[in-house]
């Protein structure tokens, strides 16, 4: 039963958990009605609901987009490999469930930087998923830690198309971060072969600048970086890729199952693009 040696910290062991600071994955879990969250997460989540009363529905809209996007990519687009960065606390239906429903041979690698997310994700892995689903604890701030991870190579064939999912993730990075989020995305997509896809959703001030500004202020006050970006800025993430119809749209309008009454009630842009 050897995991470590004596008193030396085992590099394999994840760092211990920190529940004193709000974590985006658990804040999201709260909005989605989950119970895997702690006071700091709930406090921030509630503050942001005060800023944006529709916050819970916006979180649900992102989840719904994720399902529609994966269904489209595994179905119509014929993608068999998914790299879901910023997985969050598992919420049904998960990416592998949606993908494998459309294509039973679909393979999924989940990436998150929260050890709690990792523990939950691997606990949910059942025998039938084994081999087709894997988890990496890593941070998009260091894209190579994901791309060079042995698990990635063991699970995905990078000579075949991969759909990179970055749903409600890129707002946690600033333009002056190093690397900046545009560079992070570029680094990841550079490694993906022709025929790969990039899916992004991103919060925006375009629909309601006042409420969005309040939400950003609440997050920043809690120590969570939050950057809202305009449609043009979100479009920049797709530089060098071909946007799939209908382009960068409000998250509720991207190939909706039923057309939304008012797509601008969820302050998120969404888009999917293909690498030529």
């Amino acid at each position: 039963m050897s995991q470590g040696h004596g008193d030396e910290p085992d590099p394999e062991l994840p760092q211990d958990i920190n529940t004193n600071m709000a974590h985006p994955a658990r804040v999201y879990d709260y909005w989605l009605g989950g119970k895997d969250n702690f006071p700091a997460d709930r406090d921030l989540a509630e503050l942001m609901i005060q800023a944006i009363p529709n916050m819970r529905e916006m979180a649900a809209a992102n989840r719904a987009f994720l399902s529609r996007a994966v269904r489209h990519l595994a179905g119509e687009a014929g993608v068999r490999q998914f790299l879901d960065i910023g997985t969050g606390i598992p919420t049904s239906p998960n990416v592998h469930e949606v993908a494998q429903e459309a294509a039973p041979d679909a393979r999924v690698v989940y990436v998150d930087n929260d050890p709690i997310v990792l523990a939950h994700a691997r606990a949910l892995l059942t025998g039938q998923d084994a081999g087709a689903t894997a988890f990496i604890m890593a941070d998009l701030r260091d894209p190579k830690s994901i791309l060079d991870h042995p698990t990635l190579a063991a699970t995905l064939d990078l000579s075949q198309p991969v759909a990179v999912m970055l749903v409600a993730v890129l707002m946690y990075f600033r333009d002056d971060d190093s690397p900046n989020p545009f560079e992070m995305v570029a680094t990841v997509m550079e490694r993906m072969p022709s025929g790969s896809y990039l899916a992004v959703t991103h919060p925006t001030p375009d629909f309601n600048p006042e409420e969005t500004a309040k939400a950003v202020a609440a997050a920043e006050a809690a120590g969570v970086t939050l950057v809202a970006r305009t449609q043009a800025e979100v479009g920049e993430f797709f530089t060098g890729l071909e946007l799939v119809d209908p382009g960068v749209t409000p998250v509720l309008s991207w190939r909706p199952d039923t057309p939304p009454a008012d797509p601008r009630v969820a302050y998120y842009w969404a888009g999917i693009a293909r690498k030529a």
Partner: protein, 476 residues
């Protein structure tokens, strides 16, 4: 990184497992089905035993009542005697226990009911009627008619109008298994906590009320004014310690600004359910109250997270292991009593393989698996059982290895139960030698949840756990 080694090992682990499985000569698959059969047998035996004992108890009471009423052999006024007898008998037949028993009666057990119950009391009545007829008090045809009428009445009574459901598919039936126990002796030396344990519906309503109140920033005192009561009453209501009066609930909801008729209706319905005692509660001696509450909660949960530092979690124990644990705890007990306890506990495991089973996510300390409970043979069976359990889609097992060193849960074992209702907080369950505690206040639950998350992160991943179980088996 952890995941790398773990995931890349997975294939190797599975290969090793298959080899090890073949080496030990057990079938690679399907053994869980065998275990399920053992559990079902335990449930069935238990039911027969429980029903037999309960019906015996009822029948004895009926015999005594009948004998007492009919003792006066024809000397006094037969009409008065018969009336007294009929009253006693009716009281017994229509009493809470009989109704409860009748409602619980299963098709499979109808024979027991007839043989042990009606067929014993019936002849006593008929003998008396015959004596009356012999003495000329009753003309023979009337006696026969009376007996026929009595039989019809009993038959009607014994046929519940509602359809019978199998005990292992209905949640109520599950409770049946747990709430019954033959004999009148206390199941354990445990003392129930004052006031007994709250039912899950009460906890649910209480939790919602607390949530509504704190969302408004109201103190208990302020809320109490709405129902002309004390802050203490609000405290008790919110903790599910007392039943709800409809009027209080309506007033509180109004005070909390709940106007959605559906929401109000849902809460009122829940409160009504919470106020109706489960029919099994007439048999208060079945199990210690604290454990009944746990089983009640456990059967309502959708996720059971548990940390066990001392032994294999009850839901995953083999009967031999269980027997050894019970022997260890109660040296003086007769084997019969031990056997009964084992069957009761095995029956509880039906939970994991029922339709819509809850998820069990268990962390077990390596110490619990190293301690040779019952000796090597018992441990071997138990470890194999754990390996089988890891194949169940709704079971996650993680071993917390010695090498993890000091950890957050060293204080002791605990469970966190999660319920489907979004408003209902998790409940933390702590077992003591003389009872149990239930914690459902958010700040308390958060602390335990933090510890649980911490040890789940520290413990061996589920696939590594399989590997560790194989090693433990080989070490035996």
């Amino acid at each position: 990184m952890v995941a790398a080694t773990r995931v890349s090992r997975r294939t190797a682990v599975r290969r090793t497992r298959t080899r090890a499985t073949q080496r030990r000569g057990r079938p690679p698959a399907g053994t869980s089905a065998a275990h399920r059969e053992v559990v079902l047998d335990a449930v069935f035996e238990l039911l027969v035993e429980l029903f037999t004992a309960l019906i015996h108890r009822q029948a004895e009471a009926a015999d005594q009542a009948v004998a007492a009423a009919l003792d006066d052999d024809g000397g006094a006024d037969p009409a008065a005697t018969l009336t007294a007898f009929a009253t006693n008998l009716l009281r017994l037949l229509l009493g809470e226990r009989s109704v409860a028993l009748n409602r619980a009666a299963l098709a499979e057990l109808a024979a027991v009911l007839l043989a042990q119950g009606r067929h014993r009391t019936g002849p006593i009545v008929e003998a008396y009627l015959a004596r009356l007829a012999q003495a000329g008090v009753l003309p023979p045809p009337a006696a026969a008619a009376l007996a026929a009428q009595a039989r019809t009445a009993v038959e009607r009574f014994l046929s519940p109008r509602r359809p019978r459901t199998s005990v292992w598919t209905s949640p109520a039936g599950w409770e049946t298994v747990w709430q019954f126990r033959p004999g009148g002796n206390a199941m354990s030396e445990s003392r129930a906590p004052a006031g007994g344990g709250p039912k899950v519906q009460r906890l649910l309503v209480g939790a919602k009320l607390r949530r509504l109140r704190t969302d408004l920033g109201l103190s208990r005192e302020e809320a109490a004014e709405a129902i002309r009561a004390s802050a203490w009453k609000i405290h008790r209501l919110e903790n599910g310690q007392v039943g709800f009066k409809q009027r209080d609930l309506v007033d509180l909801l109004e005070r909390y600004g709940v106007t959605d008729p559906d929401e109000i209706d849902e809460l009122l319905t829940l409160a009504r359910e919470a106020n109706v005692p489960g029919w099994w509660q007439h048999y208060g001696d079945v199990l210690p109250q604290w454990f009944r509450t746990y089983v009640d909660l456990e059967s309502a949960a959708t996720l059971i997270r548990t940390y066990e530092g001392m032994f294999v979690p009850g839901l995953l124990q083999t009967d031999d292991y269980m027997r050894a644990v019970i022997h260890g705890a109660h040296l003086e007990e007769p084997p019969e009593e031990v056997g009964r306890k084992v069957r009761l506990r095995m029956a509880r495991q039906i939970l994991l393989t029922r339709e819509h089973p809850p998820r069990l996510w268990a962390v077990v300390d390596e110490a619990a698996l190293r301690r040779p409970v019952g000796g090597p043979a018992v441990m071997k069976g138990q470890l194999q059982r754990l390996l089988e359990a890891t194949e169940l889609p709704n079971v996650t097992l993680q071993i917390l290895p010695f090498d993890a060193g000091a950890h957050a849960a060293m204080v002791g074992s605990f469970s966190v139960l999660r319920f489907p209702d979004q408003e209902l907080p998790d409940v933390v369950y702590l077992e003591h030698i003389s009872g149990a505690s239930y914690l459902n206040k958010p700040d308390e639950v958060d602390q335990y949840l933090h510890v649980m998350e911490s040890i789940c992160v520290r413990a061996a991943a589920p696939d590594q756990t399989v590997e560790l179980l194989e090693k433990l088996l080989d070490d035996l």
